[in-house]
Amino acid sequence: MNAMIIFTLLILLMLTGMPISISLGLTVLTFLFTMTNVPIESVALKLFTGIEKFEIMAIPFFILAGNFLTHGGVAKRMIRFATTMIGHWHGGLGLAAVMGCALFAAVSGSSPATVVAIGSVVLPAMVKQGFPPRFGAGIVTTSGALGILIPPSIAMVMYSVSTNTSVGSLFIAGIIPGLMLAILLGLTTWWIARKNNYPRLPKATMSERFTAFRESFWGLALVVVVIGGIYSGKFTPTEAAAVAAVYAFVVAVFIYKDLPLNRLPKVLLDSASMSAMLLYIITNAVLFSFLMTNEGIPQAMGDWMIAQGFGPVTFLIVVNILLLIAGNVMEPSSIILIMAPILFPVAMKLGIDPIHLGIIITVNMEIGMCHPPVGLNLYVASGITKMGITELTIAVWPWLKTMLVFLIVVTYWPGLSTWLPSVLMK
């Protein structure tokens, strides 16, 4: 009963269009003031302690690192490298865009940032080459989603914060599914390009490839710093993020010199305001999940599911459908922060691996970012291409289908996600 009231209130408030963080907070306050006798002081305490965890601080650092990389010409050199490697195959620059997204995803933790960084460089180039604008827009919108599957990933940090799963293991677990999705998206691109006979680039010589590699080396090395550092235990994920931010700053300002120092305050301000927005949602989501736990809602749902005789298979179908629906109206961070604490206890009762669940949720979020009405990637891509959302929706459809197939594979093949961390992280 209480669960019904809480959710109805939350959904009603959200539908008015107020910020998600505010609707979460107001739901909690309304409920606490009118329906329970939980002392309000404990809520006040939660308002402070909600984000006082060092793990959460990885989020602002990764955002800052991502912004330095976006402004610092790293994306450009990565695409150039990808172009010399695979630009002569069917799909040419399109294929290079997929690879560029995958490379950039390995240094950035956010999907929209990947779309911006790669898209704003590669899309004008593709139009110049004579690709239909839709083709490029579809590729970049969907491949940009790799940003949260290939580590580092802000979405995974969110999941680990709300479920106490190890960030390091989640990052490692994202590698194989991430590469697999990149290959699948690349195949889709190749297939469409071959069918329509889209332009290809002349094959690059070995020396051109080497030059491109050398130029993009500083960006690529960051992958080693972040993943290697976390895996070898040299840094915690948060420290790795801070080191990545400093490294990206040095590369952008002193090595590539694409970011003049006088733009530094602007980059800091943008990163700070983006991080603050996410941290503000986290604060309120922590409050919300405190309310849920206090009312025993996740446990009740778990018991109900088990009483209905739901096995893991049915449960995962429900999870996917629920997340895909949520992906229609909310952005990923909020979904993870609201849903993960509810789904997690149920999944544990059913014996689903926490890492596997994390990867399933991440892939769902990727899909949610690529379709309307609130797919953030779509909006970003529409900002770059000046295409309408409706046209973009048609444009992304072939790649979106690939992602849906991939979602089914990830959901029912736990080994794909859990094998690598079980081998590496002992």
Binding site: T16, I22, L201
Partner: protein
């Protein structure tokens, strides 16, 4: 005048906190790394940097509170806008104003709760575990940030009421990218290459 002061304060504060927290953690990592190196380690062990994590957390909590207020002004806080986008005229205005006032109400309540909490805190002598600063100073960010945020919501509501415009954050905008970037990735053998069929 006061408004401009507040704007500048907000912007400089959060940008400063973002930058310096990064430097603090980076230095702490360097310190730990070089503490394993002979010769210099003798000097480094004398420095105690165990407070770095705590300082970083406090800085980011402050940044979160004031950044959230800045975010109201720049329209970065996302909501579910499927209904608002379908509505027009008076109904749309009413719903948007309702959302803004709800924001002002919530942040106002939180600010008051926070002020109350800080007031009680100030009468204890609780200090943080590593830095040993009084906790009520650390927690001051909640009433300050929340009241500022409440003020920003009212400000946005007022300007929306007058001009019918909301601040809008464009996620797709990148400064400093130029046409030449497109040519850069296509150059081969010194020339920008054309397509081959």
């Amino acid at each position: 005048m006061i408004n401009r002061f507040l704007n500048n304060l907000e912007e400089w504060l959060i940008a400063f906190l973002m930058g310096s927290a990064t430097v603090v953690i980076f230095l702490a990592v360097l310190h730990r790394y070089f503490s394993g190196v002979p010769y210099i380690q003798d000097y480094l062990v004398k420095l105690n940097v165990s407070w770095a994590q705590e300082l970083c957390i406090f800085m980011f909590v402050w940044m979160a509170k004031f950044g959230a207020a800045y975010g109201v002004r720049t329209g970065i806080h996302v909501g579910v806008d499927i209904i608002i986008r379908k509505l027009e005229g008076g109904k749309r205005r009413a719903l948007i104003l309702f959302g803004l006032f709800a924001g002002a109400l919530f942040t106002g309540i939180v600010g008051t709760l926070g002020a109350n909490f800080v007031w009680h805190m100030a009468h204890t002598d609780q200090v943080s575990s590593d830095l040993e600063v009084p906790m009520w100073i650390v927690y001051m960010c909640v009433p300050l940030g929340s009241y500022l945020m409440s003020f920003r919501f009212l400000q946005v509501a007022y300007s929306f009421f007058k001009t019918n415009e909301l601040p809008h954050h464009d996620h797709g905008h990148v400064e400093g990218l130029s046409e030449s970037d497109a040519d850069d990735i296509l150059r081969q053998g010194g020339n920008v290459v054309g397509a081959r069929k």
